[in-house]
Symmetry: C2
Subunit: 611 residues, 2 copies
């Protein structure tokens, strides 16, 4: 792209995937990491790497000398030297003259310094007006200090290390005063803080890209609309304090509703807007039992919860990070021009993703069968990181499964999750329990009726949808008795992920047409036969819609055909459903052919008798 | 994945993208190439590369010593030493003892040797029963020999170098005997052959993966069904004898029909099945003016026409090559289990791709604005190869644009094609002419009617589809007068890429229902009002379908609603169409609100007068 060289502090998997994205744009990378065989170094052949620690000032200075800009893939770096490099400059000796060259650091060293101390991070978030769990810094690592903190926070609480904490390391739950000695023993060597216990319904995460240097002051400030853009809100599932699964989107739409998603995006963007410098940030949130959103923590770099973006979005989080720190352009959102700010980087259309981390097991190759199985899985992409030894729980790679629907992705990833559970139960010496995973699937078809008396007519169609493995939601919305409920239902359906609406009504059957008038979705109308007129009233009320508002009308009382029509519509873009529609037709044909055979064998007279 | 190291002869862009795919599976790569800064070496940090020529026996032996298997990214390699390594083995000196170790070469050295001599390649294809253009080897590079060849082939003919020919280098058109001296002067240093001139309607290509070692004997042999699998058939557009554009799928479905696509796939698989060893093969074909398919040439390696697979298919051609040569598994096709053999690696659902090569221009940075523009383009992924100097016409990178439909991809890539044309016209000092490109788009909606007398009823609906930018095909299929035509139409519709069928009929209106009985697609029925019964006969004939075969019926004569219903169905999976449906509803609302205003302003009496 251009001649710039980017120095990365840290050479793990995040650095590796960042390097891969840089190569595609022909950007040069130099990696600072202790190991000569670090994952990121393995895939970077052209540039002299620096071998050394990302905490070592001299090694960082040596890296900076080779680069136009520095960035990080881990936040536990020496920020004093980053501050010096960015503000004062590197000493350059040339022909006996000493000059100084400043090298950009993105995100800003101040952001890294604030975030690497988790207590400071939370204080900063509070100053921005962003909700997090209440927390108290411990003035000393003593039982007295912790007891005092517990007085304001209550039990249980979480004792946390302020620094060097990741993947659950540095956390200790304190359920009662009797846990205090063990907690202090486990974490006592680092500065600590105590955090109020959060009962969460689920964990969600969102990657946010910051594209301008300045930091907002928070509060009513709306710079976040200008200087950030968001990726989709995803659901994360942790196990043993390590990320296990990421669902994009969350299949639990009853919990992680569209409203919750919008709020989470805004909170995350507001939070990131208050940090300094540019780049991607991984924002982890709790959705509490009381439906509150609290930020758990923020990573000022690419993040495990954003791996899915490689396959599921046009632009991966790695690509976005490079574009942000180098001031390269972003593509527009679907709204055209600069709409990426408002719409964010979205999932590719008709795309749902599930990411599963591949963790090391009890043996050096315990995780290999999962990798092999991933190669055999439709929609799966395998990413191995080139890590050395596989230790239990070590992140060796990940698998992203893509399908057209969250259902589809869930169906495909399930065997892999089972294998991962087996690997874990092996090294933990535990029986294979129920794994934490999201399972409820969002409905694709909404079925509604004017009155519960229409339900018997709809029943065969609903059963058929279930048999075809198509998710649905059944409700009642009367055009005449609950008009406002009906409008809300129709207007919200598309944003809830519904693809087709089936509406049944009898008599002056206004429901299907009124719903069609308030949604861009295809609406299938089922005329219900009433006590007079043989259903002709219902049929004509539904089918004879004015120009501009179509209702796909099926035969009187024929909910089976409504269900099959919905399946055909979904099948236009879902090969699995299309296959099932074909199979249904074949079974129907077989059924008739069997009768043909029987009729011809028995003769028609005998057939009538036996029938 | 496992501990194997793969040696690649050649380190250009194909080797680079192969290396990228290998890294994701944690496979080790060693690259043999003259330049220390070769594209593939730039992204491979861990392994000692071999600097040297892929034609140099010693360099190849040195590479083999480090590897478990050798493969190629270019066919102009020394096959004598590959034969020796694979058949006799490498000399290994250990503790004074000389032993030999055989190293696998994939594809087989015999395949590479046959293909690198284009005349031998064509002879071999003919022996397999695969059609190619007639050709004659020149016994000597003399005018007499060429005149004699022309006697059997006729003028114009193409004089071609048998070896070291690629990207149009090594070809010289001989239009009449007077061109002979210039042709021999241009190509005279290499062994030559003459080829019959092919007038082609378009060029198509297909990547084929060979997954077993043995070669079929051709003829009636059906091993190709077992030992090969195909990628989608694509249309390629060449300019200055270099690949410029690849369309997946071809937007010109009237030309590159479903039948032609199926045939091309079979020919390509039959051809590849007749070569030895494993790996991907790029097969280029001509579709002639007379609708014949001729193989132009085969490359025994990843190919420019397969770059689009990185974004558009689950499995890229590079990933497939590695799996094939290492006997790693493939994911199943949509039909389950081992169906990938029959269905091939398909495009991701609702995915169309266009690939544009980024070629060097008159200056070293002439191609950079296109790269920048690609970053600003929705659906575009940029791949730069890390090539050195940008020479005119040199392949510096490529851009793949993905959209839900061929329309969408075409729309997005167009500005980039214009920029590429400008770069070319600059260095060629030519005025900007019409660029060669495919433009016609495949229909999404098929509209059919029982009789041309139904056309006036359908006209408003067809016009609306056009206004909504939805592609359609209009035809006549009478259930009663052309029953077999109707069945064929209905049965082929889905495989032709049609998503929705609109069928109009009057009286005993059987057409919509009969079509619905022969397709899994959603069928919309438009009852046409006849001269008696006010259309009630048509309506009931269409709507009262038996259970199992739904027809989405709209109001009598209301083709507008049929079109809008089709748009809503397509809109369930196409955000652009959904947006247009919403806009249509808004315009309708605005139209009514304007009337409201006028009515209230004028009073109802005046309104009636003025109306």
């Amino acid at each position: 792209m251009d001649g710039r060289t980017i120095g990365i502090l840290g050479g793990g998997q995040l650095g590796r995937m960042l390097t891969e994205a840089a190569h595609r744009m022909n950007l040069k990378i130099a990696v600072l990491e202790d190991s000569e065989d670090a994952p990121a170094k393995q895939i970077n052949g052209r540039h002299p790497h620096v071998h050394g620690s990302f905490a070592d000032p001299d090694a960082i200075r040596e890296l900076a000398r080779q680069c136009d800009i520095l960035t990080i893939e881990i936040e536990h770096v020496n920020t004093e030297v980053l501050e010096e490099i960015a503000e004062v400059g590197l000493e350059i000796t040339q022909e006996g003259q000493i000059t100084r060259r400043r090298v950009k650091v993105q995100p800003n060293w101040r952001t890294i310094r604030t975030i690497q101390d988790k207590y400071l991070q939370k204080q900063h978030l509070r100053s921005l007006g962003v909700s997090t769990a209440d927390s108290v810094a411990l003035p000393a690592n003593s039982a007295e200090a912790l007891v005092e903190a517990a007085e304001s926070l209550g039990y249980p609480l979480m004792l946390k290390s302020r620094t060097q904490a990741y993947d659950g390391r540095g956390n200790f739950p304190v359920r009662s005063p009797s846990d205090i000695p063990a907690a202090l023993k486990a974490l006592g060597k680092r500065p600590l803080y105590a955090e109020k216990w959060v009962e969460f319904a689920c964990e969600i995460a969102v990657m946010v890209v910051k594209t301008e240097d300045g930091a907002s002051e928070g509060g009513g400030d709306s710079t976040w609309k200008r200087n950030t853009l968001a990726y989709p809100v995803v659901e994360t599932v942790h196990e043993d304090s390590i990320c296990k699964l990421v669902y994009a989107p969350s299949p639990r739409t009853s919990l992680v509703s569209a409203r919750c998603t919008r709020e989470a995006e805004i909170i995350a963007r507001r939070a990131v807007a208050g940090f300094w410098g540019k780049g991607v940030f991984g924002v982890e949130l709790f959705l509490t039992d009381k439906n509150e959103l609290l930020i758990n923590e923020i990573a000022p770099r690419p993040h495990n919860s954003g791996h899915y973006t490689i396959e599921a979005c046009q632009l991966s989080q790695y690509d976005a990070h490079l574009r942000a720190i180098l001031d390269l352009p972003f593509p527009p959102g679907p709204g055209g021009e600069d709409s990426v700010r408002s719409s964010g980087v979205q999932l590719k259309s008709n795309t749902a993703a599930v990411m599963l981390n591949i963790l090391g097991g009890s043996g050096p190759n315990s995780h290999i069968p999962i990798c092999r199985r991933a190669l055999e899985t439709q929609g799966a992409t395998l990413h191995l990181y080139g890590k050395g030894e596989a230790r239990p729980g070590r992140k060796m790679g990940h698998i992203t499964v893509i399908a057209e629907t969250p259902h589809g992705a869930q169906r495909l990833i399930e065997p892999l999750i089972h294998m991962a559970n087996r690997v874990r139960s092996e090294y933990r010496g535990q029986a294979l329990g129920e794994a934490p995973q999201a399972t409820a699937l969002p409905p694709l078809v909404a079925i509604t009726m004017g009155s519960d008396s229409d339900l018997p007519v709809l029943k065969p169609g609903i059963s058929l949808l279930r048999d075809l493995g198509i998710s649905y939601h059944v409700t009642i919305t009367s055009a005449h008795r609950t008009p406002s409920r009906m409008f809300t239902f129709a207007q919200d359906a598309a944003s809830r992920g519904i693809k087709v609406i089936i509406a049944a009504a009898g008599g002056a059957a206004h429901l299907p047409g009124m719903i069609a008038a308030s949604t861009p979705l295809p609406v299938i109308g089922v005329p219900v036969k009433g006590s007079t007129l043989d259903g002709m009233d219902s049929l004509l009320s539904i089918v004879q819609m004015p120009r501009g508002v179509p209702v796909a009308t099926v035969a009187i009382n024929n909910s089976i055909n409504a269900a099959l029509l919905a399946a055909r519509i979904l099948g236009t873009h879902d090969a699995v459903i299309r296959e099932r529609v074909l199979r249904y037709a074949q079974e129907m044909e077989t059924g008739v052919l069997e009768k043909v055979e029987k009729l011809e064998e028995l003769g028609w007279e005998e057939y009538v008798v036996r029938r």
